[in-house]
């Protein structure tokens, strides 16, 4: 099946045409049994989670700014700022993971099982790399969570994001495994597509956190 070139709108219009009315009643039996993007319930739950987690990240960054405004120096107790190398490297790894991620999403929306399987495995490979680099990042933060409020908020931001990386990795592994099951319900392709959306969120939400953790301390106190 090659519906991948169709837009959501076009797909929806085709759905409308499948509706029939007879005997004063609406017959929905010809409607599809799943749909992509905001037509699906999964999209809404993913969007909800993104809103919630986005709010958490935003509050964490605002907390850092609040503490920094009240601080005589930032870092607070003369610590060195976190090493730029691993954090910046990981940012690049995460950003580049968007490529296999979107490739997978397109395969899923084209109902291409082989493509989706390969794509998910590629994404997992990328994830293994950025999880490994994340470990190196933690070792190069140049502060401890119990040093002072600066150390606490830096570790909190890193821990929050890392939790997302880990859960996303586990989710994606499970989903990849599901793709190898037979029989496979076609609606699992929607799960794959939404997983890619969440992956984008985890990567994009890293950018302000990266700026907050790695660059704010290099700008001195406010």
């Amino acid at each position: 099946m090659t519906w991948s070139d169709e837009t959501t709108t076009a797909q929806r219009e085709r759905s409308q045409q499948a509706l029939q009315t007879h005997g004063g009643l609406l017959d929905v039996s010809a409607l599809p049994s799943f749909a992509f993007s905001h037509r699906s319930l999964m999209w809404w739950s993913t969007a909800g989670l993104m809103a919630i987690e986005g709010a958490v990240f935003a509050l964490a960054v605002v907390t850092m700014l609040f503490l920094r405004v009240h601080a005589p120096a930032w870092p607070l107790s003369g610590q060195l700022p976190p090493e730029l190398l691993w954090g910046s490297l990981n940012t690049l790894v995460m950003l580049s993971s968007v490529i296999p991620n979107h490739w997978t999403k397109r395969a899923a929306e084209a109902l291409d099982l082989r493509g989706a399987r390969i794509g998910m495995l590629l994404c997992l490979g990328w994830a293994a790399v950025f999880l490994a680099v994340r470990v190196l990042e933690f070792r190069a933060l140049n502060c401890r969570w119990d040093d002072d409020a600066y150390g606490s908020i830096v570790w909190m931001l890193m821990a929050l994001h890392t939790t997302h990386l880990v859960t996303d990795f586990v989710d994606s592994s499970v989903l990849a495994a599901v793709l190898y099951r037979k029989p496979l319900a076609l609606r699992r392709f929607v799960d794959v597509s939404e997983n890619c959306l969440y992956w984008d969120f985890v990567v994009l939400s890293w950018l302000p956190l990266y700026a907050a953790v790695y660059w704010l301390p290099r700008m001195g106190a406010s």
Binding site: M1, W3, Q11, R12, S15, Q16, L19, T21, G24, L25, L26, D27, V28, S29, A30, L31, P32, S33, F34, A35, F36, R39, S40, L41, W44, S45, G48, L49, A51, I52, E53, A55, V56, L59, A60, T63, F66, L67, H70, A71, L76, S77, W145, D146, D147, D148, A149, G151, S152, I153, W155, M156, V174, V178, R181, P183, L184, A185, R187, R188
Partner: protein
Amino acid sequence: MTAHDTLERTWRDPGGFVGWFCAVNHKTIGLRFITTTFVFFAAAGALALVMRLQLARPDNHLIGPDLYNQLFTVHGTTMMFLFAVPVMQAMATYLLPLMLGSRSIAFPRLNAYAYWIYLFGCLMLFGALFANVGPDAGWFSYVPLAGPDYSPGKRSDFWAQLITFSEMSGLLGSIVIIATILKLRAPGMALHRMPLFAWAMLVTSFMVMFAMPSVMFASTALITDRLVGTHFFNPAEGGDALLWQHLFWFFGHPEVYFIFIPALGFMSQIIATFARRPVVGYAAMVLALIATAFMSFGLWVHHMFATNLPELGKAFFTAMSLMIALPTALQIFCWLATLATGRLVLKTPLLFVLAFFFILVLGGLSGVTLGMVPLDLQVHDTYFVVAHLHYVLIGGAVFPLIGAIYYWFPKFSGRLLNERMGQLQFWLFFIGFNLTFFPMHLLGLHGMPRRVYTYPAGMGWETMNLWSTAGAFVIALSVALFVVNVVRSVLRGAPAGNNPWQAGSLEWATASPPSAGNFLQPPVVHGREPLWEPAAQPAGVIGLANDQREVLITSAIEAQPDHRAIFPTPSPWPFVSAAATTLLFVTSIFTPWAVVWASIPVALALIAWFWPRVRETLAEKPLERAP
């Protein structure tokens, strides 16, 4: 077997002991959830009775400060986190699919998980109280008092984890509700035709998603300060005591609107039915809900007027705190206009709604007072605030909630609650409430601070405290009467029929109680009050399977039919996952490494939950059709 029986068999929950833990039907979960919230309402109320006994006389020694401080903390924490917010979510869980014309709620298993997590949170908190390790730093848990230096032991850790439990339940519940409201409405129920209660829940759920993360973040930071030595709130190491207040109240102010806005939804539904006409100004009502939600995020500093924040900033928050009265006033005026231009049926649900106009308005006016900085600096942290908060929460939410129970009880159970007993209960509650809480305005003005386990004799506070205690027992009597009414009606109340109130919204089109699949023929909607409009075509939906859990998904704004979805079957995994999550949360109070090893059972349970079963996949294959 008839189609009706097939549908019933498809959607009902399994029986038996194990089956009880597998239930996912929204009505089953909804009723359990509502019942549980009322049990904890009564428990928190009982704690308040003990507090009132202690305060009935000056310099009393009925209970000591340690127990008193646990009682007032657990009373507030329970009422706010384990009753007032969840009960609204619970009512929505039951009512929304029916009101929107759907066979199910979105994400039924997630909804069940949200209930179990909530229940385990309640049990943890009260377990801690009974073990004398109940939190005792107030429901707001200010630092540094609640921090590692001044609250040693586990008490405040239980508080912080209780937040985690209740926030998870609330946040997941809000996702469920938003998805249900936006994607599961009956064809033709465009957003501008949706019942006002559904609008209220939609608005509330969006607020929850943006406000609850703030307290989640704050309580996590508190736990790490207490357990692993972080310094978020330690001024000696660059932390800030006011950071807690900002984070807490950024959540805490919207939170009262999580409680209030759904109750506004109840008001609209009940007034329409008992005035025999739709509420005046539907668009204005919807905009008022949305405006209230947005504005509620701009008020939080009014809890911090006695700190040293800049005066100009405080004035801004005074302006916002006064302004938020306007959308609520709009709703009140529209309701008054509805009552004035309707045909009134004065039954118990309407009585509870009418009490709102007295009690909530009085509470709102004391709120206006508190929003004005100079006045707040006198009455902040006194019994005046205790009076205000109870007037707005009980008048604005609990009275409409009780009215809503009288209103929807026939739908839940198929029986009517006793009308005479309902009226008696109403008057007892109204009189008892005012007797308890009105004197507190005066107590605050006359100098009595709040959160005190006793007070000196000779301050002039004795008489008012005594009246207040008497009133509390009248309230208790009224609650007892309510319970009696419910139990008697469940056992031998008058049968209700589908639509005893001849109301206009879709839930009244189903049987009382509704069948497991709600609608054999899901409706198509052509107006705002579907059961009051003349019949139109198409009248309903066919083509959904009755032998599979098939649900119609419609578009978000116009509710055009979009696709059919297969919904999950009953499963023990939401319960098991909730138990594993509880283990994770509780053990991590005692050791940080629990976060790592206790995640493993959670992960395993979640995987078992989501892992597709061969039998189910094969069963849905015939219905499969790509977009």
